[in-house]
């Protein structure tokens, strides 16, 4: 136990501290921008990023992963904040955490494997598009100077890392352009125009909402969507960090940890968050491996806000917009275009539908659910192709069934048989088939009973063990009084 704590916390102190500082610097603009997307005061996102990062450092399942306020979650909150206000958001954040803790206890992480990769690719692409779309109102048609600042930010963030790797380029863009904006009299909107920065630590309080069923009905759909999306992005990020570090992680513990972090964050006035792909990659790249890096990231972020809060409100919005456009570009999976060319058409379709539904509903959870359902339908239709070949030898008619016999394939199964025969011996060969469900057994019953009506004899052959068990349990054809309608 002590060995494990040592390994997860103190085996990489120097790398973790440095990476944590880098991440804290990169987190600040994102936390502010995501608050603005959600329609809340920047402090809500900053407190969330502080609290989630610090708590997840202790209770998360993936050391070295960075969790904080995220775009995916912020986008989901927009309607809730608009209609009911910040207190309902905090209540929803707590409920989100409770749901995620339950997910962790019931080991829902395993269900992740049922989400096809086409849906996951659609998820990140949709997220990138939404983050970009959320920036548009902040730069489109405001002023020439706004466009100019966005452009310069983009250039700095894009080009500078080629030459200077130790300091995050977004930070340089912020410092340089905020200084320029302060010492000149350009007409630019600033973070201060959209909210205030409080230079104090978050404190515990209960969200000011009535504790009633009505409240629950309002927040539950949001909390459920937040819980699903948060978990999805967190587990995807965990897998990426697993891959980058060549180590394994406990996904159920991570799910529980995300839940605990969100519950606490809700009570301290922060919005729900989850793991961040971009920040986690920055952390690992900068040498962060252990839990210490996450703790430092959260702690240093709060320290910076308390010390430099006055300056943070002076950051021009166009600079923030430029940084977020780069975040959006970094989030998008650019190999998707290759994927569209190579992948089966059904997978491409699932990916595109997932993206389209998210873009039109602004709800990542709806896109994921639609994508999963659509790929399930495609899957069923693919494996429901069942063939029945008929061959006649002597007096015997042999039907060889090949494929999966279940609700989606019973129709083609039934159509294959020729019932206009009398006093014959019919053999149905199932050695290349599998019977899956009640509908499948029902179809077998139907066929056999129909043949019995005309005094034919029917023999089934080659049922595999599982199918045999199912048929014995459910079939009624041996019952001489059986009627077709029993199924």
């Amino acid at each position: 136990m002590i060995e494990k704590i040592k390994l997860e916390w103190f085996s990489n102190i120097r790398g973790d501290v440095l990476a944590g500082i880098v991440v804290a610097l990169a987190l600040i603009p994102e936390a502010i921008a995501f608050s603005i997307i959600a329609g809340v005061n920047p402090m809500v996102g900053l407190y969330a990023s502080f609290s989630i990062a610090v708590i997840i450092a202790f209770v998360g399942g993936r050391p070295g992963m960075i969790s904080a306020a995220t775009g995916a979650m912020a986008l989901l909150m927009v309607p809730l904040v608009k209609e009911h206000g910040i207190d309902y958001l905090l209540a929803a954040t707590i409920l989100t955490g409770v749901i995620q803790i339950l997910f962790g206890i019931f080991k829902v992480a395993k269900v992740m494997k049922f989400i096809p990769r086409a849906v996951m690719i659609g998820f990140v692409n949709a997220l990138a598009i939404l983050i970009f779309m959320a920036q548009v109102p902040h730069f489109l048609g405001i002023s020439t100077m706004t466009y100019l600042f966005v452009a310069v930010t983009l250039l700095i963030v894009y080009i500078l890392p080629r030459f200077l790797k130790s300091i995050p380029a977004p930070l340089i863009a912020i410092v340089a352009l905020t200084t320029l904006a302060i010492f000149s009299d350009f007409e630019l909107r600033t973070v201060g125009d959209l909210g205030t920065i409080t230079q104090s630590l978050p404190s515990f309080f209960l969200p000011n909402v009535p504790f009633s069923l009505e409240t629950l009905m309002i927040i539950f759909p949001f909390s459920l969507a937040l819980a699903i999306v948060g978990l999805l992005e967190s587990l995807l990020t965990a897998t990426i960090v697993d891959d980058m570090t060549g180590t394994d992680s406990n996904k159920n513990k991570e799910s529980r940890g995300q839940g605990i972090a969100n519950v606490v964050t809700g009570f301290f006035g922060g919005m729900a968050g989850c793991a961040m792909i971009g920040q986690s990659v920055i952390n690992v790249k900068s040498g962060g491996r252990g839990r210490l890096s996450t703790l430092i990231a959260g702690g240093f972020l709060m320290f910076l806000i308390i010390v430099l809060g006055d300056l943070v409100v002076q950051i021009p919005m166009p600079v923030l917009v430029g940084i977020m456009i780069m975040v959006s570009i970094g989030t998008f999976d650019w190999s998707s275009f290759m994927y569209l060319k190579k992948a089966p058409i059904t997978d491409s379709l699932v990916m595109i539908v997932t993206v389209l539904i998210v873009v039109f509903t602004h709800d990542l959870s709806k896109g994921v659910i639609a994508g999963v359902i659509l790929s399930a339908i495609f899957f069923v239709s693919k494996i429901s192709k069942l063939t029945v070949a008929k061959s006649v030898s002597n007096d015997l008619s042999i039907y060889t069934v090949e494929g999966q016999l279940f609700f989606a394939s019973v129709e083609s199964f039934l159509e294959a048989f020729d019932f206009n025969v009398q006093n014959e011996h019919i053999i149905i060969d199932f050695s290349q088939a599998h019977v899956w469900d009640d509908s499948g057994v029902g179809a077998i019953d139907k066929v056999i009973l129909k043949y019995y009506e005309n005094h034919n004899q029917v023999t089934m052959e080659g049922l595999n063990k599982k199918s045999q068990q199912l048929v014995e349990k459910l079939a009624i054809y041996n019952n001489k009084d059986a009627k077709l309608s029993a199924h």
């Binding site: 990769r117 990140v124 792909i277």
Partner: protein, 139 residues
């Protein structure tokens, strides 16, 4: 002659030619072993994970890249092993070579991504500058 040989490969044509040269060097010493090292680039990690169903599938995909390299080594009856490392290709190869005290490092002059090589300066260039052992760059 050289006994501990490091071959940095990514499955590109250049790395296949580098393999041929590594085999030439290794065949001069019956005790020579070749370590083939493939670096899974940090900056591709996100899309690698997104585009594979499981970590096992991803491992397999990466090993598959090295198939032409491994085939050459097998046909030449070389004593070799494969290491998949994670990181930024240049520094990761250098660190591995220096820590494990390889006697010579063989690498292709450029890898799969030729456009990036032109802009950024190549992995092989970084390796030459910072590896502590002799480096053979194969065109």
């Amino acid at each position: 002659m050289y006994q501990k040989i490091l071959l940095a490969a990514d499955g590109s044509n250049h790395s296949v030619r580098a393999t041929q040269e590594a085999i030439k060097i290794a065949s001069m010493n019956p005790h020579a072993t070749i370590t083939v090292v493939l670096v899974a680039d940090y900056s591709h990690s996100k899309s690698d994970v997104l585009h594979s169903g499981s970590s096992i599938e991803l491992d397999l995909k990466r090993r598959k890249k090295l198939l032409p390299v491994e085939e050459l080594l097998k046909n030449a009856n070389m004593n070799y092993r494969v290491e998949v490392l994670h990181g930024v290709p240049g520094p990761t190869i250098v660190e591995f070579a220096n820590k494990q005290n390889y006697e010579i490092l063989v690498i292709g002059s450029r890898g799969l991504n030729s456009l990036q090589e032109m802009v950024l300066g190549s992995v092989s260039h970084k390796v030459v500058k910072r590896a502590e052992c002799p480096v053979l760059i194969v065109k």
